[in-house]
Subunit: 401 residues, 2 copies
Amino acid sequence: MKLEVARILVRDPAKNRATVGAVPAEVFTTDWEQLVNDPKVDIVVELIGGTNRAFDIVAAALRAGKPVVTGNKALLAERGVELFELSRQTNTPIHFEAAVAGGIPIIRTLQDSFIGNRILSFSGIINGTSNYMLGRMTDAGLTFEEALAEAQELGYAEADPTLDVNGWDAAHKAILLASLAYGFPIDPAAIHVSGIEKVTPLDIKFAKSLGYVIKLLAVIREQDNGAVEIRVQPSFVSESHILASVHGVFNAIAVHGDTAGESMFYGRGAGQNPTASSVVGDLVEAARGVTEGRHRGFLPYKEQGVLLPVEETTTGYYVRFDVVDKPGVLAQIATVLAEHGVSLSGTHSPADSTNPDAAFRDVIFLTHRCPYGQLQGALEEIDRMEDVNKQPVVFRIETLS
Amino acid sequence: MKLEVARILVRDPAKNRATVGAVPAEVFTTDWEQLVNDPKVDIVVELIGGTNRAFDIVAAALRAGKPVVTGNKALLAERGVELFELSRQTNTPIHFEAAVAGGIPIIRTLQDSFIGNRILSFSGIINGTSNYMLGRMTDAGLTFEEALAEAQELGYAEADPTLDVNGWDAAHKAILLASLAYGFPIDPAAIHVSGIEKVTPLDIKFAKSLGYVIKLLAVIREQDNGAVEIRVQPSFVSESHILASVHGVFNAIAVHGDTAGESMFYGRGAGQNPTASSVVGDLVEAARGVTEGRHRGFLPYKEQGVLLPVEETTTGYYVRFDVVDKPGVLAQIATVLAEHGVSLSGTHSPADSTNPDAAFRDVIFLTHRCPYGQLQGALEEIDRMEDVNKQPVVFRIETLS
């Protein structure tokens, strides 16, 4: 099989590129319709990013019956419902390995190798920037702002790092994974996403003393009743779990299949080369489809699926309150928690709190597993108590198989 | 696509099986030639193990143009050259995902997802029994014999655990991985294999104090000149490397591809369900091939490849000597090592040696990277020294990317 680069769409053909010499100048075009409609073009690789022009190009390619290879997670998470529907109608596949976790072949694994599995859950570290920053906050005691500045200097974070630190880059990937595993379109607005902006060195230190590390985790889990839980947030992960050993900008996705059992796929989640690895793998698959005259790899969609409301998602919790240091406050908080059915696995009132002589001090409650709605109810009531200073800090404690 | 179980080959059709009720009794046969030649059989799944009858069945299926799915690593490692040649001649594929690391889809990943990568190296923990035993020796201080007895009680080790503990089960898998990545037949007799029988709690303890864990590692690495290094042995792995976090009976394979960068695939390496997961994935691939009238997944063989002789394989080393505790012995050993070009990164003479009052004591040398042949030369000379008691204990210190 021999692949030929027939057309390259660019904004400015005069720009000096690494491809100079490797590709004839006449291959470049600024006209996307010309590219898509060129009869020499059999497969369209979309790597321009964004969700508008990219949508037009991918949709036009599918309508022309040309398989698409893309690494555009935002496009597929935001407008995947339309595009995958079009893919089915036109019997033309979209390959998107590069859209989830860069060089890690998780999409192909789900579509092919794990075809005999019902996927019970995913737990993924799928934003390298956040993972790098949390690592530096943990190992070097940096603040969020310092870690972000460093990540930007090293080129790990974009000039606009919003989607990395607010959790939405990870959420886009989680939406794609869940769509693939459970086969229904997922509305981004319906899932629960929080980022690492509120993680502090103080909570990282407390986590460590309790045997945990804080990781930005995407959790996807099918409930027994078929409802699917999808959420992204910084979470407590036991330091003995293999996900705790995922350092730096690496990504990892733990998959629990009913027959394969627990698996984990680890690798570089971003960057030119890892992305290229996935694009080339997809390109060969697409080319085989063209050669063989039939394609593989369609998303098996059912019309409707059910997402588990965030109030019903169930984990343990780490809750840190800033309270007036006087007798009875702990008892009051514990009573309210108990009244809402939130039972405690431990309380800690660290001696090395950052403000040992102040009137306020940190009190940490660790809870057993309960629905998030129950905890919320308790926290709203506690928030009205005089002796509790401000909004408590809450992290989920994940039970990972 | 609907798959039907047409025939099941068994020794004793009267035996009570979990399949009773699920499969009609007339499906069972004791005649393998009848099974292979049955026109209703399109694909043959070989899960009987062994290398003789299994060879006959797989070869006959290929000659009949029926794709084979197998989990038989010993068969493919020992007689793969013949079978893969037959596969090419008959244009009939052998799928063998289940033969390497049970439920981990490493074969498919290499054949499809990483098709755009040159594989620079593998480092794998691919024998769950050994990994479980080393873990128990590390965490609970068990001896090799105690750990083996426990593994057998728990059903993790076979009644005859020879191939698990002598490294050859891992070596069979390494041979398959290397054949796949580098495309030439590999003679099992030419590769360097040692097992975990000689690992002691003492060396595990010293390793730990130096920041390492001992893992049975299969290492495959292509040299710049194209020669391929393949070896299996217990090795020192930095405790901060992700492979050090692979516990219990889990398997993991770290893959370094030139474009994907470092990846790791982790999961259950054995057991009925993980094996079934891989067999079903392969069965679907084989069935697609039958349906589409063309197959994928042949081994790309070149006639000849070059294996790196073990003398030229290069790592650091941990060498523990048992010496007479008198002045000058360390200096003598260090001098011989230096004369053979083996340079030291550290020496340790642990205070908590197991025999502090004895005339003999442990002395540990850590070396920089050098070819194994150089170290061997030095050790042969040191072995002739009067004040050195017995054969030194040698472990490789792996530099993993």
